[in-house]
């Protein structure tokens, strides 16, 4: 592992009475794709905004490439490329104009602006739409322009807030292809906040945040491994009724996640026939697989990732 480029130490933040962040510490080595995973309202957005220099941390410190985000925001901003949940583009300007405008804000000279914009238009396959107004672009395309925008000044660290929100699977894969290329070719460090499993699986390491606190910090692989065993997913009628019956007849606790009933067990395949016998005719489909990050979150917090869509974040 290389030197630590993002460093958080005891970060805490309060919105009035509500504690959004509590003693969050972690470090990200250069060249890593680092994920912030947690439910909406779990503290991701607050942490993201502190790192992006938009709000000052109430407690603790954070450093980007050796510069304190609160005390040296200017130095930090020079090193950061940030893409927010909704693309920071002007719909009335063309793709090229948006990129040029932002390059000027970043302090690129005239020649460098032209060169860099041309380079990024090509890298992101945007050449054909360069003269199109951004308002006419699809969500996936706009997101790509926004990513190009964040990269204009060759930032050492890229911060992406829910970058795949609203993208179809194809556009999502495309975005990740670009992020992987960035990391491998340029050694960029990428911090991604997300509440989606597919995104989280693609990160080198994940910070699980819940209620403002760090729940876990490890690679997706290790996190899943720690849960252990297999996960049996049962479909059939009302999942809650199914879960209650499984507990009553077999004494096995089942969790209801996303309209399915999930049971965590060692040697899951041996439990499948037992389930069929205990619930004759009730099971429509059943699958046995390795734990997902959803199971990891469930095990660590006793709660689901997808629920708790709180209104305040």
């Amino acid at each position: 592992m290389g030197e630590t480029i993002i460093e958080a130490c005891g970060l805490g933040h309060l919105y009035g009475e509500r504690r959004a962040l509590d003693k969050v510490s972690f470090g990200v080595p250069r060249g890593e794709i680092f994920g912030l995973l947690g439910p909406n309202g779990g503290g991701k957005t607050t942490l993201f905004r502190i790192l992006a220099t938009l709000i000052r941390a109430g407690e603790g410190r954070a450093r980007i490439d050796g510069h304190d985000v609160s005390d040296e925001p200017h130095a930090v901003r020079q090193r950061l490329g940030v893409a927010f949940q909704s693309p920071s583009l002007d719909g009335l300007l063309t793709v090229r104009e948006n990129l040029q405008h932002h390059a000027r804000l970043q302090g690129l000279g005239r020649a460098d602006t032209l060169h860099r914009v041309a380079e990024l238009l090509e890298a992101f396959d945007l050449g054909e739409r360069a003269e199109a107004r951004v308002a006419t672009l699809s969500g996936g395309l706009a997101r790509r322009v926004d990513l190009a925008r964040a990269l204009l000044h060759r930032p050492a660290v890229l911060l992406l807030d829910e970058p795949t929100t609203g993208l179809d699977p194809g556009a999502r894969r495309e975005l990740w292809r670009h992020l992987d290329a960035l990391r491998t070719r340029d050694g960029s460090t990428v911090l991604v906040s997300t509440h989606l499993m597919e995104d989280a699986e693609r990160c080198d390491r994940l910070l699980l945040l819940d209620r403002g606190q760090v729940v876990a910090l490890d690679t997706p692989e290790n996190l899943r491994h720690d849960v252990g065993g297999d996960v049996i997913v049962v479909h059939g009628g009302d999942p809650q009724v199914l879960a209650d019956d499984i507990l009553r007849t077999l004494g096995e606790t089942a969790a209801v996640v996303d309209g399915t009933c999930r049971i965590r067990r060692q040697r899951g395949h041996e439990f499948v026939p037992v389930l069929f016998e205990a619930l004759p005719g009730r099971i429509e489909a059943i699958s046995v697989g390795r734990p997902t990050l959803e199971d990891v979150f469930l095990q660590r917090t006793g709660r689901h990732l997808l629920e708790e869509r709180s209104a305040d974040e």
């Binding site: 992006a52 709000i55 020079q78 009335l92 804000l105 302090g107 460098d112 380079e119 340029d186 960029s188």
Partner: protein
């Protein structure tokens, strides 16, 4: 595909970015340019910007001049001569202030966040925004200035130059005022409400519409404290010396107050923009 340079771990391409004052000037220019481009790509705004002064031009030039003279007031000064600076200030007021609505839209749509995390000072952001709105307001005022010969107002070259100076300061001050209000609001509806609450009285109590000398005693302090009063007085004096009346503030004093007004709104806007965005964003 090549994303960047051969130096993957270089912190940033410091050598290729310009720094300090040059960067600030460039950022101000970029922000200003965006406001101008946005304006001319919105057809309704162009129509409104051209039609409003033309409408007043027509109404003032012919429609009401007779009725005003019949009333007997201000007999020494033509109606157009009296009312014209007030109309100009009104048009500048609305264009300048409403141009800052984009601050609210930019924040809602996420554009502003990227500007805020760019390595530029908040003062540059405020200046770029204020210059953009001021330019649009001045452009409209210029249409009205061009109409003066047909309205029998003949200020001469120096009068026009002074009027442009005063209008520039008023535009700057009022765009700054709009920025101060817009920065603290989350909805454009709220912006309109506050504008109506603040702007209309501000204009009515500036002497633009009624001569301040004739106001009742309880309104007088409000007129004296209204910074726009001095903008209107200065403009009136520039276009037709003596037209403002003998007990009106002097041109030099009015110009000074207008300058302070512009400087104050800029500084307040800058202070507000410097405050870290906190709970409002969450």
């Amino acid at each position: 595909m090549s994303f960047a340079t051969s130096q993957p771990t270089a912190p940033i391409a410091q050598s290729s970015t310009i720094s300090g004052f040059g960067h600030a000037a460039q950022a101000i220019e970029a922000l200003w340019w965006r406001d101008i481009v946005r304006f001319y790509r919105q057809r309704s705004r162009i129509v409104g910007a051209l039609a409003t002064p033309l409408l007043f031009w027509l109404l003032l030039g012919s429609g009401f001049s007779g009725s005003f003279r019949a009333g007997g007031a201000e007999s020494s000064v033509g109606y157009a001569t009296f009312f014209y600076p007030g109309v100009m200030v009104m048009i500048v007021l609305f264009t300048a202030i409403f141009s800052t609505i984009s601050v609210i839209e930019d924040r809602r749509e996420g554009f502003l966040q990227a500007v805020l995390v760019a390595p530029i000072s908040r003062a540059a952001i405020v200046a770029g925004k204020i210059l953009g709105g001021s330019t649009l307001a001045l452009g409209q005022a210029a249409i009205l200035l061009a109409a003066m010969p047909w309205l029998d107002i003949h200020p001469g070259a120096s009068g026009v130059a002074l009027a442009v100076l005063v209008l520039t300061l008023i535009s700057f001050a009022l765009t700054g005022l709009g920025f101060i209000i817009a920065w603290q609001l989350d909805s454009t509806q709220g912006f309109h409400a506050i504008m109506n609450l603040v702007l209309m009285p501000m204009w009515l109590l500036s002497g633009a519409f009624f001569p301040p000398q004739g106001a009742s005693s309880w309104l007088r302090p409000l007129i004296v404290m209204n910074p726009l009063t001095y903008g209107v007085a200065a403009l009136r004096e520039a276009l037709a010396p003596g037209a403002a009346g003998v007990d009106a503030p002097s041109f030099g004093f009015s110009l000074g107050v207008t300058f302070v007004f512009a400087l104050a709104t800029f500084l307040i806007a800058r202070i507000l923009a410097n405050r870290p965005l906190d709970t409002r964003l969450a």
